[in-house]
Assembly symmetry: C2
Homo-oligomer: 135 residues x 2
């Protein structure tokens, strides 16, 4: 890298403010993606399997998502057995789709970066300048 | 949702094990995407602006990424002023590209889900069964 010939940087270009932390958590991404398919909801017991989560973990994540108004959790009985139904709220669907748009932007940026780097034939890196040392 | 007519669920379908927690953190995603473009590295001062991070936050994230062997941090002087250069390691590039592949899978799944839900004409949700109540 030529330290005298740096491009001006675009402030906040890779800040990704739209990646809502509540939804960005890895397990929650799986939960929300599952729920996106079934507007009527998914039983807790099925959701657990789809996302490979324990009862405790799924409960905690659902609580966090419910507190934000993104999911609804309903309790009832089916064939005399207690059941829990989880589903996206209208607000949750809207916000998750917006989140996904931002995620798509990350992938577009990364793909563009990777392509630009290859084009410059620079995947092989220049040596570190003489006299510099690891931090 | 018809509780008597549920599809069998695919175990772990939305578990996304490949979303490495070290890289998935929102700010780190920005840092890694920035660094992907410049195999020779980016100065700390430029990276900070690109990602809209404070000195302290960027330092902490870089330390975490360095500890995992994903980035290299070099110190040196340029025109008598101390400078810090950050860049992806070969391992970091490889692992971040793998991570991005997994992220792309999330988006593909979500898009498929959304499409399937719309096809069923089900974005408008059925009422919650009689007798069920919020958890």
């Amino acid at each position: 890298m030529d330290l005298d010939d740096r491009k001006p940087v675009e402030e906040g270009k890779f800040a990704y403010e739209g990646l809502d932390r509540i939804m960005h958590e890895k397990a929650r991404l799986g939960i929300l993606t599952s729920l996106l398919t079934e507007p009527d909801g998914i039983l807790f017991t099925d959701l657990k399997k789809l996302c490979s989560l324990t009862d405790g973990n799924l409960s905690r994540h659902l609580q966090a998502l419910e507190k934000e108004g993104l999911v609804e959790v309903w309790k009832g009985f089916h064939k005399r057995r207690p059941q829990t139904l989880c589903r996206l709220s209208d607000e949750g669907r809207k916000r998750f789709v917006e989140y996904l748009d931002q995620l798509e932007q990350v992938l577009k940026d990364a793909a563009a970066q990777e392509k630009a780097a290859r084009k410059k034939g620079k995947i092989k890196r220049s040596p570190i300048p003489e006299g510099w040392s690891p931090a």
